[in-house]
Amino acid sequence: MTCKKVVNGKSPGDIKADLRQLCNTAIKAGSTCVRILDPEMVCLDFRARIKCIVPKCMYYGTNAHCPPNAPPIENTEKLLRSFQSAILVGVREDANAVVPKSGEDYKIWWKTSQLQPLMSKLNAIVGTVESEANCLGYYFATAFSAGPCKGIFCSDIPCQALEKGNRCRHIMRARSCMEGSGIDVFRTVTGAGWDIYPVGRNHRAEYLPYAFVAGLVLVQ
């Protein structure tokens, strides 16, 4: 796509048109639902970050994007306050693909689970929207995904970015997740009018209407 030249003080009409274009891009890239949001509607909660720590998540401390290496929640707050418009992206998935069915052995199911492909898809969607926002002149556009980058990109190898002076293997692609940045994803998604379900270890696919993951792009 062609790049629009940077204009200081875009008209509200132009901004609206750009946000709509970005929503269409998100849909074309595979998202099921999209909302233009005031970033004030993104709920921050100190407890979101604590849930990486108590008890420890399997990705805690294992990569450059997860706590304790992720920026503090105060930075997320400052970042959110610096933007006026955001795009919330949702992807619904058949529960059978990402949650085990009754009677299925959890460990066997995990090997064929489509959870990581779903996270990967969401990561690609928010990345596409962020890139396009940049080309439209919103050069501070910042996208957040769901789940740790390590699960998507480097599940079997150590994170290289944690070595002093070394770079991330997936620069420009791996990004922070909403929850690890201190965002209450459940509340934000519910507030946007979408249904979301907490999927726990004891939950089984036939009792869930669908699985849902969400990503966020701060645009302007």
């Binding site: 407890r47 720590i53 008890p55 420890k56 805690y60 294992t62 907490p198």
Partner: protein, 221 residues
């Protein structure tokens, strides 16, 4: 089990029913008593609690990711406790022979007993089960604290792997911080809940106390 969608607010009927379910679950899993408490008022934080990990040094100080100086700071804990409206205090009554040796000559054998590790793990197991069930009911910020160091329960004979840069905890989702190492005055909290609790020292033997008491905490919402 049908999965309920997340709501911005839950009805008082649902909360009441869920609290009842969680209390029953704790008892079925091995707790001897459970109290529903307001964490801001009935879970007592004291700056001195974490100091008791450091002065003098506890054998587990600095040896694992869930103990000081790596655990949540006192200020973080204060903020956390005040973010919740409701918590469950979980008590597990223990045989006095589990918390002190029969005689002081038996101290070494008692402190290396597999029953001790079993007891510590059981405590983490109970609070973990309650936390998971709370999450599945929609209280997705449910967070449980155990008693004692995770190292003594899970990795007594090997170094904590989570302290290696970039490495994960061997017992993720199971090992968790203790209440005392997070700055909670467990004795005061338990006594306020109406439970009998005794300070067991190095010179005490099982006959000195009627029973031991393990305490856990699940912050719910």
């Amino acid at each position: 089990m049908k999965v309920g969608k997340i709501e911005l607010e839950y009805s008082s009927e649902k909360i009441k029913k869920d609290l009842d379910t969680l209390c029953k679950l704790a008892m079925e899993t091995g707790a001897s008593d459970v109290r529903i408490v307001d964490p801001g008022k009935e879970v007592f934080l004291d700056y001195r609690a974490q100091y008791k990990c450091a002065l003098p040094k506890c054998p587990f100080y600095g040896t694992n990711i869930n103990c000081p100086p790596y655990s949540l700071s006192f200020e973080e804990m204060k903020r956390l406790i005040n973010s919740y409206e409701v918590a469950l205090l979980i008590a597990v009554k223990l045989s006095s022979f589990l918390v002190a040796p029969e005689s002081l000559e038996d101290y070494r054998a008692w402190s290396n007993s597999p029953d001790l590790i079993k007891m510590l793990r059981n405590h983490f197991r109970i609070v973990g089960i309650v936390e998971s069930a709370a999450y599945e009911l929609g209280y997705y910020f449910a967070a449980s604290f155990g008693g004692g160091s995770c190292k003594s329960a899970f990795c007594p004979n090997e170094p904590c792997q989570a302290l290696d840069r970039g490495n994960r905890c061997r017992h993720y989702l199971k090992a968790r911080p203790s209440m005392e190492g997070s700055g909670i005055d467990v004795f005061k909290t338990a006594a306020h809940a109406g439970w009998d609790i005794y300070p067991v020292g190095r010179k005490n033997v099982a006959g000195d106390i009627p029973h031991g008491l393990g305490i856990g905490l699940t912050l719910l919402y």
